[in-house]
């Protein structure tokens, strides 16, 4: 999907639809099968598997403590798939463009820039984690649970140091508030079809399907 405005709006709408009902989640899953390049998921398979395992754990706890775990697992797994699609399609500068398009050169620019920085931090943390694992391999250390604490602290420390550097850089360059940007977007016909389908799915998710079937029993 080329247009980031439609991509983000579709992801928001689909996440809501998947979270609201089980039949909504099923429809979102179908949407994901039809409109996204599913093979891209293979590049982030480790992240997807670890997220799904985490959801599975919480779903099990929920199921054992009062039920509804399976429904929670299905809905959250579909949300993860949509999130991964959104994350893999994201390009640098898109949040800034959307921020300015939505809220203008001042507040919009600020919001967009914060979002861009967030995405950059996320990418840096992933790179740092790979780097720590390589360092441990070089040192002959085993990747184990107790190494998570120092690794986590090194990650937090690095992220804070980078944030401080960025803040200093902005201050040195005289940044105060807002900026000028002329956002441009490219919309393909397929983007509009996918976007409209996402809205239809949200409406479908809002329909109380179970009551509808009871009516015709």
């Amino acid at each position: 999907m080329q247009d980031p405005r439609i991509r983000i709006a579709a992801a928001t709408v689909l996440s809501l639809a998947a979270f609201m009902s089980l039949h909504g989640a099923a429809a979102v899953f179908l949407w994901w099968l039809v409109f996204t390049p599913r093979l891209q998921l293979a590049k982030r398979i480790k992240m997807v598997v670890s997220l799904i395992l985490m959801i599975a754990f919480f779903s099990l706890v929920l199921e054992l403590s009062g039920g509804g775990g399976l429904s929670y697992f299905i809905r959250m797994t579909v949300i993860v798939l949509i999130g991964m699609w959104l994350f893999s399609g994201q390009k640098s500068g898109e949040f800034l463009s959307i921020g300015v398009w939505l809220f203008g050169d001042r507040a919009g620019f600020e919001l967009g820039m914060v979002a861009e920085m967030g995405m950059q931090s996320l990418a840096s943390v992933t790179a740092d984690l790979d780097r720590i694992r390589m360092a441990e391999k070089i040192k002959g250390m085993q990747w184990e649970v107790r190494s998570l604490v120092p690794a986590g602290l090194v990650l937090v420390h690095s992220a804070l140091a980078r944030a401080e550097d960025t803040a200093e850089l902005l201050a040195v360059r005289g940044y105060q508030y807002g900026g000028t940007l002329c956002p441009t977007f490219f919309t393909r016909p397929g983007d509009i079809v996918a976007g409209m389908s996402a809205v239809c799915i949200l409406i479908f998710a809002l329909i109380p399907v179970s009551e509808f079937f009871i009516l015709y029993r």
Partner: protein
């Protein structure tokens, strides 16, 4: 029967990334090897491949008599895995007290390694790496972030290596240790320049001081500052 000599052989090893490529063939025997080349020529990629941390696109790497190996990455912060300096030393399997006393950082035992200056962290990192002997020691840009005094100390320490293979990947031109063999990466290819001083004649990245001394009729025997000094003394008689 003696201990087999360590060696690492690159057999048509290649790395390809977009329009950039690197190919390397040759055998690194025991001794100190220098691999020079411009920034971005592929020195770090070659180091990673030789350490087994980056799979080559083609070819193979054969190792003989190598049971222990170590790679020092160019940026010391890339090695940090602990939250204190003492912990960082321990993660290398070395005694923190001994190491920190030796490099004059005894007061920083409880500090965070990431709060140290790049120079301090590099000294700490190199001290930890060089505290042990390895059959294969790969040093990627070991002189970066060090002042002249520390570079000289590092050269001396490398010169004390009595066994094993030590490969230095660097674009440093002024302060270098005495080496057994010189290699360089030119136009995406690893070239064996040979042993010094004969290697100087076809070494593209030959340090300017060697060119000048050779022009004055006093070609140094090797590439260390002591060799340059000895050559200067020859001119002056």
């Amino acid at each position: 029967m003696g201990v087999p000599m360590a060696s690492i052989t690159l057999n048509r090893v290649s790395a390809v990334r977009d329009r950039w490529s690197l190919s390397a063939s040759g055998t690194f025997n025991e001794g100190v090897h220098l691999v020079s080349g411009e920034v971005g020529s592929g020195k770090s990629t070659l180091a990673l491949m030789m350490a087994g941390l980056f799979p080559p696109s083609g070819g193979d790497i054969g190792k003989e008599g190598i049971t222990t190996s170590m790679l020092s990455l160019p940026f010391p912060e890339l090695h940090v895995t602990a939250i204190s300096v003492a912990g960082e030393c321990a993660s290398w399997g070395v005694d923190p007290g001994e190491i920190l006393d030796a490099i004059g950082l005894a007061g920083k035992k409880e500090s965070s390694p990431l709060s140290m200056s790049r120079g301090e962290l590099k000294r700490l990192h190199l001290a930890c790496v060089l505290a042990k002997d390895y059959d294969l020691l790969l040093l990627d840009e070991p002189f970066s972030s060090l002042d002249c005094e520390e570079k000289v100390k590092l050269c001396k320490r490398i010169g004390q290596q009595s066994q094993g293979i030590c490969v230095i990947f660097t674009h440093e031109q002024n302060i270098l240790p005495r080496v057994t063999r010189i290699w360089e990466i030119v136009d995406g290819m690893l070239v064996d320049c040979g042993t010094p001083p004969d290697a100087f004649t076809h070494w593209h990245h030959v340090p300017p001081v060697i060119t000048k001394l050779t022009a004055l009729g006093a070609r140094p025997d090797n590439i260390s500052p002591d060799d340059f000094l000895e050559a200067v003394c020859r001119i002056q008689g």
